[in-house]
Symmetry: C3
Subunit: 109 residues, 3 copies
């Protein structure tokens, strides 16, 4: 058995928890801030049998893959030329890191 | 040395932290939600020497064992027949999971 | 690669996170309470390559070393003799524990 500590973006947390629960993974959410992926991240703790680790990784990759999103540009009003005021800009979102550790013993009470 | 990550119910947390502290275990409480045992759980991080692991597990089992509790039934008012309105129902409480991991190195500053 | 779970005092957290970030360590802060070092502590999760573990430990030791601080004495007003009212007292601060664990696999999405 492995214990996976996954650090993901807050914005991806509810989607990932939903898809993992639908696939019968047991997920515990730990509050976290800062560090990996900067502000606004969530740490998930997931116990997983070795033969399901690849499937877990695939779900995290599909849900949290690094990608860009178009958002309205937010230049300070003074610097914002009329011509570019509504031009959207691409910002990076998503991304995840996973630490996979061997579980010496798993106990269920 | 081992590091134990224990996920228990919020309702059992203060009793378990008290009994572990009385038995000279060092416990750190991490905020957590959802997942194992559904909503309202607490994750404890406990460093333990190998020769005390069995005692730690015994304390968790005694304090957090899965059990039932009688609670007043809470059917929606419309569906609640007069005859059963005050019949208590058994709900499951307690339970815990523990991930035990090998500590490669322990440092105290 | 190693995963380090470091439990430090809240009072040392922002200084340590700053120095670790300046030294290119990736730090995730988990909320925590009680246990090691009593109330008011913070748990940091840090992934680190084996060849940088010694440097990480040195930074934690320098920033969080156990030390004393002089604080104004805070005897209850009734018991506070005029002569000692402003005598500062030494209180212990700082200290840290680090659990270092082997990472079986590290995944970056
Ligand atoms: Ni699947
Ligand atoms: Ni005992
Ligand atoms: Ni350095």
């Amino acid at each position: 058995m492995k214990l996976v500590l996954a650090v993901i973006q807050d914005a991806d947390a509810s989607a990932l928890i939903r898809v993992l629960s639908q696939n019968a993974f047991e997920v515990t959410k730990l509050a976290s801030t800062g560090g990996f992926l900067r502000e606004g991240n969530t740490t998930l703790m997931i116990g997983v049998d070795d033969d399901r680790l690849a499937d877990l990784k695939r779900h995290v990759q599909q849900t949290c893959r690094a990608r860009t999103r178009l958002v309205a540009s937010s230049l300070p009003a003074g610097e914002q030329a009329e011509a570019v005021a509504s031009d959207p800009v691409e910002v990076p979102v998503g991304g995840a890191v996973m630490f996979v550790m061997q579980v010496a013993e798993f106990v269920k009470v």
